[in-house]
């Protein structure tokens, strides 16, 4: 079932939502204001969905909610075993290789998890969307927030293993909230894009998994940038995820503030991603119910 996707040009005047007589900027300003209102109103729904999803995930297991903490710890243990014992690599600037991997893994797991889950979030919420009105922005947001909570807990677990590994808290860690915020915005934008695309083109869902995998290897997470010759390193600058992962590397592994240029580029990327994602999602929000 479907509403026709794009009206013919001559019909454009009478299509709905009402033709933007005002300037586009006003239209988007109004949409933003409405969304803010709606999200405040539906915040209990978001809150409920996130907390209950987390609760259901560990329901009936012996350790219960402890798993959210133990799981990343075990994961880190495996990763550090594999990469420090089996496939050791040298870090250019000293530092602990295990810590390097773990520091990069946390933002990456957050991004990858959010994007993968968001790609199906609208389709999975079909039962809800067809029965009751909930702002559709809620669904990708819930997926991203759930991953956010999980990776914050991983971060806590990381701090627990930091000490025995010889790292000490540094002033640079005060920068963490900024890095997390930027990563969140970037990921939310991508999630919105993917959620929109996959609702209309189901093929996208299959591509997302492969794409994320390829992206993972293209990003310096399990290998340091210094593995490559100086004159090839610029290639990583083309990778948007590089800047976000690098911020976490700098703060958690090297214990220094990230370079200003990296932060600025990350902020710009986050803004662009969020802007495009939001625009794409809002422009197609009304049609989604017919594509389920």
């Amino acid at each position: 079932m479907d509403v026709r996707n794009q009206p013919a040009a001559d019909e454009a005047v009478e299509t709905f939502p009402a033709p933007p007589r005002a300037r586009p900027s006003q239209v988007w300003g109004r949409r933003l204001a409405e969304d803010r209102e709606e999200l405040t109103r539906f915040w209990p729904v978001v809150h409920n969905m996130v907390s209950q999803e987390l609760r259901v995930r560990y329901q009936r297991s012996f350790m219960g909610f402890l798993w959210t903490l133990v799981n990343p710890l075990l994961m880190m243990f495996t990763l550090s075993m594999v990469f420090s014992q089996l496939l050791p690599m040298k870090l250019g600037d000293g530092g602990n290789y295990t810590l390097y991997i773990l520091a990069g893994m946390i933002p990456w797991a957050f991004m990858a998890g959010s994007i993968t889950e968001s790609s199906t979030c609208i389709i999975q919420a079909e039962g809800l969307i067809r029965k009751i009105y909930v702002p559709k922005l809620v669904f990708p947001l819930v997926r991203v927030l759930i991953n956010m909570v999980t990776s914050m807990l991983s971060l806590v677990a990381l701090f627990l293993v930091l000490v025995p590994m010889g790292a000490r808290p540094s002033m640079a860690m005060l920068f963490l909230p900024v890095a997390i915020g930027l990563t969140f915005a970037f990921t939310l934008g991508l999630s919105l894009i993917v959620a929109t695309a996959n609702t209309f083109f189901r093929d996208c869902g299959h591509l997302v998994g492969v794409f994320i995998q390829a992206w993972y290897f293209a990003t310096p997470i399990v290998y340091p940038v210094s593995q490559f010759a100086e004159d090839l390193q610029w290639r990583f600058w083309l990778n948007p995820a590089f800047y976000f992962v690098e911020m976490f590397h700098d703060v958690l592994n090297s214990g220094r503030m990230p370079q200003l240029s990296i932060v600025v580029i990350a902020a710009a990327l986050a803004a662009v991603s969020l802007g495009i994602g939001y625009a794409a999602f809002k422009a197609n929000e009304d049609k989604m119910v017919f594509r389920l």
Binding site: M1, N5, H47, K131, I132
Partner: protein, 300 residues
């Protein structure tokens, strides 16, 4: 309620953003109709393959060819104009597929209109499909809270209602049981209990609300009537003409997505009964006239 900006062009409820004070608005003077539908049409398109594939989109974009004519278009609603004032109880009749349920879903903001505008002022309680948004893994109590949140209530407000809901459904002892272990009757009772626990301004009721055993059904009917009395406006879809005559004061007759008649309930129901009794299969006289491409606008 002072309104700072015109809201007519919006197809959705504009009171929802004004906080959750459902009762706050109640005392205030009405401002215009609660619901206004202007030239509303809604089209469904059945594609041969349900998914609209990327390949097709790319090809269409690259070749700039005309969009293939889809297998079937279907106008679920056509040029519907309705104004619902405060205090009206509206009964909607029509044969199957006339667009009654679609109309309710449009009012509940589930479907956006293809053309036209829908303006709804006030909180809407959709008793259209029961158990929307229930999570089978969660306990009965958690589901009450989650569903309440979707209907616009905070956790605190909902916790105050929980007792009354348990009272009504008689499921207090199962409150901590995950929903997946509920029997279908219990599930229906819980869904009904939650959906009717709120005090809406605009109540949308779809037919076939008979849930549970005879005892519960009587309670349910009574509860819906109570709810109808408390709400500002009611739109009731049913095939039971006698109950419509009882409960409503204004009737809408829909046929094939068009509004055939709009007026006092008795007149509309009489006309409807006459038409269906005379020729159950054939379209009523008005519709026959309209089968020829006709300008919009039926009786109403």
């Amino acid at each position: 309620m002072p309104r700072s900006r015109p809201m007519k062009t919006r197809w959705f409820s504009d009171s929802e953003g004004r906080g959750r004070g459902l009762r706050r608005d109640r005392a205030e003077a009405p401002a215009g109709p609660l619901v206004e539908l202007r030239d509303v049409s809604l089209k469904f398109v059945n594609y041969s393959d349900k998914a609209f594939t990327l390949k097709r989109a790319v090809l269409e974009l690259l070749l700039r060819r005309e969009r293939e004519v889809p297998n079937s278009e279907f106008w679920a609603l056509r040029d519907v104009n309705i104004r619902i004032e405060r205090g009206e109880r509206i009964g909607v009749v029509g044969s199957n597929g006339a667009g009654k349920s679609t109309l309710l879903r449009l009012l509940a903001r589930i479907y956006p209109p293809t053309h036209g505008t829908v303006a709804v002022r006030g909180s809407v309680a959709p008793l259209i499909e029961m158990g929307a948004g229930f999570n089978f893994e969660l306990s009965g109590l958690d589901n009450i809270l989650l569903n309440g949140a979707m209907l616009g209530f905070t956790r605190k407000q909902m916790l105050e209602k929980v007792d009354a809901i348990h009272e009504f459904t008689g499921l207090r002892e199962f409150a901590d049981l995950p929903l997946k272990y509920y029997s279908s009757g219990m599930y229906a009772r819980l869904a009904f209990g939650v959906a009717t626990a709120i005090d809406p301004e605009i109540l949308l009721v779809d037919e076939s609300l008979s849930v549970g055993d005879a005892n519960f059904r009587a309670k349910a009917t009574e509860r819906i009537r109570g709810l109808m009395q408390r709400s500002h406006a009611v739109v009731l879809v049913s095939h039971e003409l006698s109950s419509l005559r009882d409960l409503c004061d204004r009737g809408l007759w829909m046929h094939k997505g068009r509004l055939l008649a709009d007026g006092p309930i008795d007149e509309v129901l009489d006309a409807y009964r006459e038409a269906t009794a005379a020729a159950p299969a054939a379209p009523p006289p008005d519709a026959a006239a309209e089968a020829i491409p006709a300008p919009a606008g039926a009786i109403g």
